[in-house]
Symmetry: C2
Subunit: 145 residues, 2 copies
Amino acid sequence: MTEHSLWRFSRALHRALSERRPEDLADLLDEDVDWAIYGPIDMFPFLGARRGKAAVLDVVGQIADNFQVRKFERETVMLGVDSAASMMRYSLTAVDSNKPISLRIAHFVRFRAGRLLSMRVLLDSFDLVEQTLGRAIHLPKMVAS
Amino acid sequence: MTEHSLWRFSRALHRALSERRPEDLADLLDEDVDWAIYGPIDMFPFLGARRGKAAVLDVVGQIADNFQVRKFERETVMLGVDSAASMMRYSLTAVDSNKPISLRIAHFVRFRAGRLLSMRVLLDSFDLVEQTLGRAIHLPKMVAS
């Protein structure tokens, strides 16, 4: 039984991030890869949607420039034939400020011929903003009467 | 082949929300259900973690009091034997302000004997905050040099 594409991709992605060598991911990306990490792109220009291998390699490089992954833990994983979904917890360091950031993310991925074809990531973006700012944003309480 | 627990639970949850009858969900919740929707609980007190059937029924009632589901679309779904994960898009109305809110969420669920045992939900919480406020929050741009 061959290894699921998720594991190979995950190892390569984390190595590319830690060594700041996005180009090492090239062989694991479909030419037409569809990539999206939902979140506030005004603050984090490396979030948002990207299409195609070159754009994804570029954005992986930007993420590596901004965050160091200290550790990650996969809380839940579901594997399909050519797809996977996980809920993960990351401990990051913001490179700019040296601040520790703790982040939960959910990702849904699809592969074609062992290469990443599609990735969708959701994260608790408000929490990420507050941790990056290093302060709470005051919010009104919303409760319908 | 019997229907996956996800579909029965999803129908019941959406009906309970639209009819504001959380108690109708009681039979589909494990006594010890573990529930979490990650997001800013200062603004949305019905987000966060809940444990046990009574606490979950209570919080479903609070969600129903605050949001109406206009429609939802399941973009991705993965089914395991007693588990499931989906990425979904919701069109909601905030009951208090009558504002339309469009929200992408990811959920990971587990069932035991057909009842919900665990649910973890991630959403683009910054986007939810801005849509609820009805204005943008100014953010500095974070780019490491």
